[in-house]
C-alpha cells in the first residue's frame, strides 16, 4: 500500500474518521485502532511479516522491562527515592538526571540483557538482510578451499521496513538502559514500532519522542494540520512528479546500461539521481510527518535542504537526520565518539559510515558509498585539526559545490547495480564522448526544481502554512483538491515504490 495511491487514500480516510470518532475519548481504544490499522497496512505486503513485527516488539518490550527490573534491583534505594518524582522531560537529548548512565546498569546482568537485546535485534536484521549475501560471498572461498558443496541459500524475502523498525526497537531498549526513557507498556511499544506512517521508511522515531505522545488523546491545532496538509501535497508532488519522472525517463535507463550513453548523459543522470533520491525519500518523510500530524502526532524533521551543505559533516546534519542521529547516539558515541586523538576519531567515523552503508543493504556498492563518506568525513576532521590559523577557510559557495559533487559521486555507487557498473559509469563520464540524447527540457526543468528546493528560504513551508491556517476550510479544500488534480495530471502512469522501501 503506497502513500501516493487511491488505495492508501481510502485507507487513511477510514482510519482518520475512526480515530477521531470512536477513538477520540478513549485513548487505549484509539491506540488499538491505530495498531490494528498499522498491521493491516503492513499486512497488505505480506501478512507473515506482521508476526515478525509483533515478535520484534515483544522482544524489545520484554527486554526493556527486564533491564529496568535489573537496574531497580541493583540500586533499590536509589530507585525508591526517584520513583515518586515525575519525569519533567521526555526529550532524549536531556538525559534524566536522576538516572545518570554512569551509575546505573553497571552490573553484569543488566549489561548482559542489553547485549542479548542488541544481538537479538541484529540477528533478525542479519538473517533477513544479509544471510544469502554472506553465503553467496563465502561460497567461492569454500570452493577454493576444497569444500565445494551446495550452501543453503534460502532466497530470503526481505520484509519491508525491517531496518527501520529494528533500529527503533533497539534504541528503545538502549534508552531504557541509559535511563533516557521509562519502560513503556506493551501496547505503546508495539504501536511505536508498527505505527504505519513511519513503519516502512522512517523517520526513525524514538520512544522518548513518541511514547509520551501516546499517553493521552492528542489535540490538534490549525498550524499543525495546515502544515500536515501542505507536507502531504508537497510530498506527493516530489514523489509522483519529480522523482518518478526522473526515474523512468532518465536515471533508470542510463544506470541500467551506462556504457550505452555519452558523458553528458551520464553526468546529467548522476545529477538526476541526486535530485530523484532526495525527492523520493524526503517525499516519504514529508508525507509520513503530515499523515502522523493529521492523527495528532509529531514526528521529527528528517531532511533539511541537504544539498546546501558546505561540508560532508553539514550534509549529515541535513540528510536522513533520524538515521544520522541514531548512528551518532548508538554507534559513534558507543565507539568513543570525539574522545581520544584525531586518528581515533577518524577510526570511529569510518566504522560508523561503513556500517551505515551496509545498513542500506547487502551490497558492496553500499559499503563503498559508506566508505567514501567515512574517508571524506575523516579528511574534514583532520583538516579542521591541522589547518594553520593563517589559512582562510574555503568560501561557502565553493564548499557547497565540492560537497555536492562528493555526494553525487557517492550516489553513483549507491545507485549502481554492481561495482563494475559504477566504475563503467565513472569511466564514461571521464571519457567525455558521445552525444547527449537524454537531456530534455523537462528533465533539465525537474533537476533545476529539485536543486531550487535546496536553496529556497529554509522555512518557506512553515510560512505558507501560517497563512493557510487563516483560510476558510471550504476554500482550502478547493485549493488542496486543485493542487492534487494538477499533480495527478502530471504524474507518471503508475507509482513506483519508494527507493527506501528496499532498506
Amino acid at each position: 500500500m503506497l502513500f501516493p495511491t487511491l488505495t492508501f487514500g481510502f485507507f487513511f480516510l477510514a482510519i482518520y474518521a475512526l480515530v477521531w470518532t470512536a477513538g477520540s475519548r478513549d485513548n487505549e481504544l484509539r491506540k488499538i485502532l491505530l495498531l490494528v490499522a498499522s498491521w493491516v497496512f503492513y499486512g497488505a505486503w505480506d501478512w507473515r511479516f506482521v508476526l515478525l513485527l509483533i515478535g520484534s516488539a515483544f522482544i524489545n518490550w520484554g527486554l526493556g522491562r527486564l533491564i529496568e527490573h535489573s537496574k531497580a534491583t541493583s540500586f533499590p534505594r536509589r530507585r525508591e527515592s526517584i520513583s515518586t518524582e515525575p519525569l519533567e522531560s521526555h526529550d532524549s537529548e536531556n538525559m534524566d538526571p536522576r538516572l545518570s548512565g554512569d551509575d546505573v546498569g553497571k552490573n553484569v546482568k543488566t549489561k548482559l540483557l542489553v547485549a542479548l537485546g542488541v544481538i537479538a535485534n541484529l540477528a533478525i536484521l542479519g538473517f533477513f538482510k544479509y544471510f544469502d549475501f554472506f553465503l553467496g560471498e563465502i561460497a567461492p572461498l569454500l570452493t577454493e578451499a576444497g569444500f565445494a558443496r551446495d550452501l543453503p541459500l534460502m532466497q530470503v524475502v526481505l520484509p519491508i521496513g525491517i531496518s527501520f523498525f529494528t533500529f527503533q526497537g533497539m534504541s528503545y531498549m538502549i534508552d531504557v538502559y541509559r535511563g533516557r526513557t521509562r519502560p513503556a507498556s506493551l501496547l505503546d511499544i508495539t504501536l511505536l514500532m508498527s505505527f504505519f506512517p513511519h513503519l516502512v521508511a522512517g523517520p526513525i522515531v524514538r520512544a522518548s519522542h513518541l511514547v509520551p505522545q501516546f499517553q493521552k488523546v492528542p489535540k490538534l491545532d490549525r498550524g499543525m494540520v495546515a502544515m500536515a496538509l501542505l507536507l502531504i501535497i508537497w510530498g506527493l508532488f516530489k514523489k509522483a512528479v519529480v522523482a518518478s519522472q526522473l526515474s523512468t525517463s532518465l536515471v533508470d535507463p542510463v544506470f541500467f546500461d551506462p556504457s550505452a550513453y555519452g558523458s553528458a548523459d551520464l553526468v546529467f543522470a548522476a545529477y538526476g539521481y541526486a535530485v530523484q533520491i532526495y525527492c523520493d525519500f524526503s517525499a516519504y518523510s514529508d508525507m509520513a510527518i503530515g499523515l502522523a500530524a493529521l492523527l495528532g502526532y509529531r514526528f521529527p524533521r528528517n531532511f533539511d535542504q541537504p544539498y546546501r551543505a558546505a561540508s560532508l559533516q553539514d550534509f549529515w546534519r541535513r540528510w536522513h537526520i533520524s538515521l544520522s542521529s541514531w548512528l551518532r547516539d548508538y554507534l559513534y558515541i558507543g565507539l568513543g565518539g570525539n574522545r581520544g586523538g584525531v586518528l581515533y576519531v577518524c577510526r570511529n567515523l569510518m566504522i560508523t559510515m561503513l556500517l551505515g552503508g551496509i545498513w542500506h543493504g547487502a551490497k558492496w556498492t553500499f559499503l563503498i558509498w559508506g566508505g567514501l563518506h567515512g574517508i571524506v568525513l575523516s579528511i574534514e576532521r583532520i583538516w579542521r585539526e591541522a589547518k594553520p590559523d593563517w589559512m582562510p577557510s574555503v568560501p561557502r559557495p565553493i564548499g557547497i559545490l565540492i560537497t555536492f559533487h562528493i555526494v553525487v559521486l557517492g550516489w553513483i555507487f549507491f545507485r549502481a547495480e554492481t561495482f563494475d557498473a559504477a566504475i563503467t559509469f565513472i569511466q564514461g563520464i571521464t571519457g567525455w564522448h558521445g552525444a547527449a540524447t537524454m537531456i530534455t527540457p523537462l528533465g533539465v526543468g525537474l533537476v533545476l526544481i529539485g536543486m531550487a528546493m535546496q536553496f529556497g528560504p529554509p522555512r518557506l513551508m512553515q510560512g505558507i502554512a501560517l497563512r493557510l491556517r487563516a483560510v476558510p476550510a471550504p476554500l482550502l479544500g478547493l485549493m488542496a483538491g486543485a493542487a492534487i488534480l494538477i499533480i495527478d495530471g502530471m504524474r507518471f502512469e503508475g507509482v513506483a515504490p519508494f527507493i527506501y522501501y528496499q532498506f
Binding site: T7, E93, R298, A435, T437, I484
Partner: protein
C-alpha cells in the same frame, strides 16, 4: 554528525493568539478536497477500480465508475485534468534543437 535540531518537528508552528477549532476545520477541508476530486478526477477513480481484482462487486463498481466518468466528462468537469495531462505529455516529448530522441540514436 552532530546535534542539529533533530527532535524539532516541521509541524511545530507558532501558536495562534486565539485557539481555533482545528479538527472540524481540517475535516471540512479534507471533505471538500475529496468531493472536488470526485467530480473533477473521475478518471483516477475508474483507473483504480479497473485495477482491483475481478469479482462481481468489482464489475458493478467498474460499470458505475464508467458511468460516473461519462457523466462528469459530459459536464466538462474532467477537462482540466485532461488538459494538464496533455500539456505534461507534450513537455515530456519536447527535445532541445538538434537532439534526437533516445530511441532514434
Amino acid at each position: 554528525m552532530a546535534e542539529h535540531h533533530e527532535f524539532e518537528s516541521p509541524v511545530d508552528l507558532p501558536k495562534e493568539g486565539a485557539r481555533k477549532r482545528a479538527l472540524g476545520w481540517i475535516t471540512v477541508t479534507i471533505f471538500t478536497a475529496s468531493l472536488f476530486l470526485l467530480v473533477t478526477n473521475a478518471f483516477a477513480l475508474k483507473e483504480w477500480v479497473d485495477e482491483q481484482p475481478a469479482s462481481p462487486f468489482q464489475a458493478k463498481l467498474a460499470a458505475w465508475a464508467t458511468e460516473w466518468q461519462d457523466a462528469t466528462d459530459a459536464l466538462g468537469l474532467g477537462t482540466p485534468r485532461t488538459a494538464v495531462h496533455r500539456a505534461w505529455k507534450e513537455a515530456e516529448a519536447a527535445r532541445f534543437d538538434g537532439v534526437p530522441a533516445a530511441d532514434q540514436r
